[in-house]
Assembly symmetry: C2
Homo-oligomer: 97 residues x 2
C-alpha cells in the first residue's frame, strides 16, 4: 500500500469560501479516480498551535495507482484552480506500507 | 475520530542509525498507549523530490485519547531522545473525521 500525505498552509488572505472550495473539490476525486482506496481531507482541528492548515491522506494499492492520482487531470485542475491560488507552503511524504 | 499527522525533515547529518531508531522507538508506542487505534510511521518512499523525510499518522477515537498520546511520557521520551536531536523541521495537522 502507498499512503500519500500532504499538509498545506494557506495564505493569510485566503477566504473561508476558498478554503471550503478545496474540500468540496477534493471530495469529488474519489468519484473520478477509482484507484483511491481511502481519502481523508480537511482543515486542522485547532488543538495545537503552530500547525499547518490542511491535510490530505490518500491510500492506494501501489505506486502506479498513486501516480495515476497524482497526474490525473481532474486532480491537477483542483491544484491549479483551488489549492495553488491560496497556497503558502506544502509538506508531503509518501509511505510504503 | 481524530487523525494526527506529522511530517519531519531530518538534519543532513542524521545517520541511518538515528533515523532507524525513530521507527523502532515509535513502534513501541502502540504497546504502551492503548488509545492508539491505528499507527503508521516511516520514511518517505522517494517517489517525489522535495518531500519531507518522515511521516507519522496516528488515529484516535477522540481528542482526549489523542491528548493522552501527545503528552504520554514514553512518547515525549522518543521525541526528546530520538526525534529532536535530528529534527530540521516539522509540519503537523490534527483532523476531526
Amino acid at each position: 500500500m502507498i499512503r500519500h500525505i500532504v499538509l498545506f498552509t494557506w495564505k493569510d488572505d485566503a477566504t473561508d469560501e476558498q478554503r471550503a472550495a478545496v474540500t468540496a473539490e477534493l471530495g469529488e476525486l474519489p468519484g473520478v479516480i477509482p484507484q483511491l482506496r481511502a481519502f481523508t481531507v480537511g482543515g486542522d482541528a485547532g488543538i495545537n498551535q503552530g500547525n499547518h492548515d490542511y491535510a490530505v491522506v490518500a491510500d492506494f494499492d501501489n505506486v502506479d495507482d498513486y501516480l495515476i492520482y497524482r497526474d490525473h487531470p481532474r486532480h491537477q485542475a483542483v491544484i491549479a484552480e483551488h489549492i495553488r491560488p491560496i497556497l503558502a507552503s506544502r509538506a508531503a511524504v509518501q509511505l510504503k506500507l
